[in-house]
């Protein structure tokens, strides 16, 4: 029946799966592509120690740039907010990709910079592993790497 209706196998209704189509604008669609396992793991395993050791931060940035296919800061998230596993009283942490302090941990009730504060509730929700905060949008990443456009 499938072949009879939307016969050709290359017919695709899902805009998420159209990355290979030549008409798709890569710079809009790439933001929403599924995140790689490597990326998910490096974000999940981040701690102050791994970032401060020799080449720790450089290695990390290489993986980030590889994930987003660019080294341009404007195309990278301003920061990545996720649950903090240091435990109470810490709630969330920000991986600041443009600021000076790389990893900042926030206690319950402690306010974050306004651009990150709007991602706080989402980062604390168990359905989202990572919240990427850009200057003009927020992208939520689930544990399987799939993305959700928030704004």
């Amino acid at each position: 029946m499938a072949k009879i209706l939307f016969g050709k196998s290359d017919f695709n209704l899902n805009p998420k799966k159209q990355e290979t189509t030549k008409f798709v604008k890569a710079n809009t669609q790439d933001f929403y592509k599924k995140r790689s396992k490597k990326y998910m793991e490096i974000i999940a395993g981040l701690d102050d120690e791994s970032l401060t050791k020799t080449r720790g931060f450089d290695d990390f940035m290489e993986i980030i740039q590889e994930e987003f296919g660019t080294a341009e800061l404007s195309s990278l998230p301003q920061g990545i907010v996720s649950k903090c596993f240091l435990g109470h009283p810490y709630e969330v942490h920000i991986l600041d990709l443009v600021g000076n302090q790389i990893l900042k941990h926030y206690k319950s009730g402690q306010s974050m910079e306004p651009s990150f504060e709007k991602a706080r509730n989402l980062a604390m929700h168990h359905m989202y592993d990572i919240v990427e905060v850009y200057t003009d949008k927020i992208i939520l990443i689930k544990s399987d790497g799939s993305t959700i456009k928030y704004t």
Partner: protein, 566 residues
């Protein structure tokens, strides 16, 4: 000496009495003030309750009146529709009537000719009238007359006439002619600017009533358009925005399940909206489940073609749209029990249904939101949902994330000025302790306000001194003055103690009540979070349901094809 003694005793007794009287009065005033304060607080609390009850009554009354008004208005609007466009109804019924009469061979050519030509006169400017004349001329083999009538019909409404003859030819099993009409129809179509009646083509796909050739033409165009419109984000983003509005407008009304939080949580408005929105997942689950479960159809091709013809001739007369839109608003006000705001939200979400020209993706969205108003059946609704599935899922994910982000992280409770913040209602012990300190402080403050009666005590003290001094001269007078002084001090201290006890008792009573309210609020907070989490999980269930939908499940294959295969 004796005169002096008599006068002195009389004077002292008078002063003594006067002082006692003053003290009694002062005590009464103090006690009265305490009672007054207490009563004032009680009145304030009762007034607040009364104001809340009154506001609820006003809200209910407003809804009730809106409901009554909507019921009256809907009748008037339908009457207006009938008066203005009622004459179309006769012509519309005639379309399928003529075809069924031809099927059974029960109507003479003369009757057909007379009736259809009469319609031409009765419905000037209406596209269907010459179309019917064309059919009757064609039946009696009057080619010239038929051509002239078709020309006129095409002039009045090209697209509707084309679709009409495509359907009629298919009904008469003249598949080649039907195909040619269809080809003609597609030649003029622009997926970014389609007439509303295009939905008829989707209906034909959903019901599988077309010959394989025609069906293949429809499918290739639909596929091409989908590819074209989904290349960039613009069209899809517009649909996602509308789905988001639709999801928001689908939220249920408040159920008043958390009365204490409603009264004492300062952020109740946000908490209430979040709860209503999270309850939407369940409603949406049933909505979509119903759509995809209703797609079975077992009607014959002729019956379905007649239904589609009826849809074409009844649902797409644009001049009726403004009135139809007004009718819809009144229907929604009735559906939402007089809640005009919720009804307006849904009308805003559905507003493109009443647009004369829309893009293809919008047409799909219209069919998903309200197939009846969009001019289709539930079969097309299921097909439209299945095609729109990718952006419905994305819109729902965004909608869910927005609810999660906008759910207040804590309950901001205010009981008699005591502010309590609780994340999940699980910090009762800590808050009760803080509340006790709060009331202790109030007690201290009130006691301080009700200060020590220094003046009266000094007078009493001075009288005691005077009494002591007088004892040297005159023992009786001295003792009497001393006694007055002591009584004065004692009465004042006694009054002070009574007033302070009064304050303690009053505040203790308030504290006890407030403690119960706080416990109740926290218990409700625990229930609220529990319900919220349960409803939140349903979002995943709905996503699973939506992700399992595929267009193939809702587009019947061409019945001719299936017969060929069999």
């Amino acid at each position: 000496m004796s005169n002096q003694q008599i006068i002195s005793v009389a004077d002292l007794s008078f002063i003594n009495k006067a002082l006692r009287d003053i003290n009694v009065d002062l005590s009464a005033v103090q006690s009265g003030l305490g009672t007054l304060n207490y009563k004032q607080e009680q009145i304030e609390s009762e007034l607040l309750q009364l104001a809340n009850t009154f506001q609820k009554f006003v809200d209910e009354d407003t809804k009730h009146k809106a409901l009554q008004l909507a019921e009256t208005r809907i009748g008037n609007l339908k009457q207006e529709l009938n008066t203005k466009y009622g004459y179309y109804a006769e012509v519309r019924r005639m379309a399928t009537g003529i075809l069924q009469a031809v099927d059974t061979g029960t109507v003479s050519n003369d009757t057909l000719k007379f009736t259809t030509e009469e319609v031409m006169i009765k419905a000037p400017g209406y596209w269907l009238a010459p179309a019917l004349v064309a059919i009757s001329s064609w039946i009696r083999n009057d080619k010239d007359f038929a051509n002239r009538a078709i020309d006129e019909s095409l002039k009045r409404d090209d697209y509707k006439t084309t679709l009409f003859f495509m359907l009629v030819m298919r009904r008469l099993k003249r598949n080649d002619a039907s195909f040619k009409w269809l080809e003609r129809y597609f030649m003029h179509q622009n997926p970014k600017n389609l007439d509303r009646e295009f939905i008829i083509v989707l209906e034909a796909i959903a019901t599988g009533i077309f010959h394989p050739n025609s069906r293949s033409l429809m499918m290739s165009n639909v596929k091409k358009w989908l590819d074209q419109l989904t290349q960039s984000d613009n069209f899809i983003d517009e649909q996602k925005t509308q789905w988001n509005k639709y999801f928001k407008a689908s939220k249920p009304t408040s159920e008043e399940m958390y009365p204490l939080l409603e009264q004492f949580a300062e952020n109740w408005d946000k908490l209430d909206i979040s709860l209503r929105e999270v309850r939407t997942h369940e409603i949406l689950y049933h909505h979509f489940n119903k759509i995809i479960s209703l797609s079975e159809n077992s009607k014959s091709t002729i019956v379905q073609l007649d239904e589609i013809l009826s849809l074409l001739v009844t649902k797409f007369d644009d001049e009726e749209l403004p009135l139809q839109e007004k009718v819809r608003l009144q229907e929604l006000i009735i559906e939402k029990d007089g809640d005009k705001k919720s009804a307006q939200e849904m009308v805003d979400a559905e507003r493109f249904i009443f647009e004369e020209e829309v893009d293809f993706l919008q047409l799909l969205t219209n069919a998903c939101f309200n197939p009846e108003l969009a001019g289709a059946t539930t079969a097309t609704q299921a097909l439209a949902v299945s095609i729109s599935q990718p952006w419905i899922v994305e819109a729902h994910e965004t909608f869910t994330a927005k609810i999660r982000n906008e759910t207040p992280p804590s309950f901001k409770i205010n009981i008699e000025g005591f502010n309590a913040i609780s994340k999940n209602g699980d910090n009762e012990k800590e808050l009760l302790k803080k509340q006790a300190i709060y009331y202790d402080n109030i007690t201290k403050k009130k006691i301080e306000e009700n200060g020590f009666p220094i003046g009266a005590t000094i007078i009493g003290g001075l009288l005691c001194l005077l009494g002591g001094w007088l004892c040297i001269d005159n023992l009786i007078i001295g003792v009497a003055v001393l006694a007055i002084g002591i009584v004065l001090i004692w009465v004042n201290l006694n009054n002070l103690s009574k007033a302070r006890n009064n304050i303690r008792e009053n505040i203790q009573e308030r504290h006890t009540k407030a403690k119960e309210v706080l416990r109740g609020c926290l218990a409700e907070a625990v229930d609220y979070r529990g319900e919220h989490a349960t409803e939140d999980k349903k979002a995943e269930k709905l996503d699973e349901l939506l992700n399992a939908i595929t267009p193939e499940d809702f587009s019947s294959i061409s019945r001719d094809t299936s017969r060929n295969i069999i």
